[in-house]
Assembly symmetry: C2
Homo-oligomer: 155 residues x 2
């Protein structure tokens, strides 16, 4: 239950609301090198890391891997495409070090959201905040690329 309460997605929920989420969660494990999902797959599960390490990545021209993030901390979550229509994973996910995970099924989560507007509001507010911070990071990275491009063009 601590895993769920330490995740940014659930900040601001009551103990009762976290308890209800815990009741629909499951534990699983995954071996190093195994893929959890691929970019574009139907997003059926939201994942939370207990221990181990998970890579999130995309590919360029379907063969060059571009790492986006590495998750190592207990409570880190991934697969948030599970929360946003059209419910697809926007990155691929591979286990970098044997990992223990908590998962919540999309259908169970949707049912839960339907029953508790306050829960949905808090969850989606936290998610929007997270996406905005990722968007700002991506824009910072783009700025670095543009700076390199401008320098290249100058000489």
């Amino acid at each position: 239950m601590d895993i769920l309460s330490s995740c940014y997605l659930f900040a601001g929920l009551s103990t009762r609301q976290i308890d209800n989420l815990f009741a629909i969660s499951e534990e699983s494990s995954v071996d190093q090198g195994a893929w959890l999902f691929y970019e574009g797959d139907s997003a059926d599960k939201l994942y939370f890391l207990i221990e181990g390490s998970i890579e999130l990545l995309t590919t360029i021209d379907n063969h060059i891997e571009l790492p986006i993030m590495r998750l190592n901390s207990s409570g880190d979550c991934f697969g948030t495409g599970t929360l946003v229509d059209p419910f697809k994973y926007s990155l691929s996910s591979r286990c970098a070090e044997k990992a223990a995970l908590v998962t919540i099924d999309r259908e169970a989560l949707e049912e839960h959201k339907g029953k508790d507007d306050e829960f949905s509001r808090i969850l989606m507010t936290n998610l929007a905040k997270y996406y905005l911070s990722r968007l700002k990071e991506a824009r910072q990275e783009l700025k670095i690329h543009f700076k390199i491009l401008f320098k290249t063009m100058r000489f």
Copy 2:
């Protein structure tokens, strides 16, 4: 009122909910070349375009402008930092062609959100979906830059 109901942020709201938003909105106009806000400013107003054109941009090293988006369509909205803690604009905004706007103050909107959990849930769900699609676009752009970089390194 049509302006508000055509904005992606308010998709799924009831006519009553849109009416309530309309009641706290104001109309204003802005001249070509005028700045509406700068990146990092406190986000006090959410903006909706009636007519005209608005540029959203960031700067590299505080002097090179990097255009991010140009809004031309009635119902286009900007300044969504108004909806996300810590309530800062994440881009700068300049009027590209004399524009008529609808604005909603953050405080009035927050009060409104506090009274209607369903409204907040729908609003934040739409916002999260929008940010995710912008994040995917930014990642696509990064992929193009990496491809250019790989080609440059190869020769």
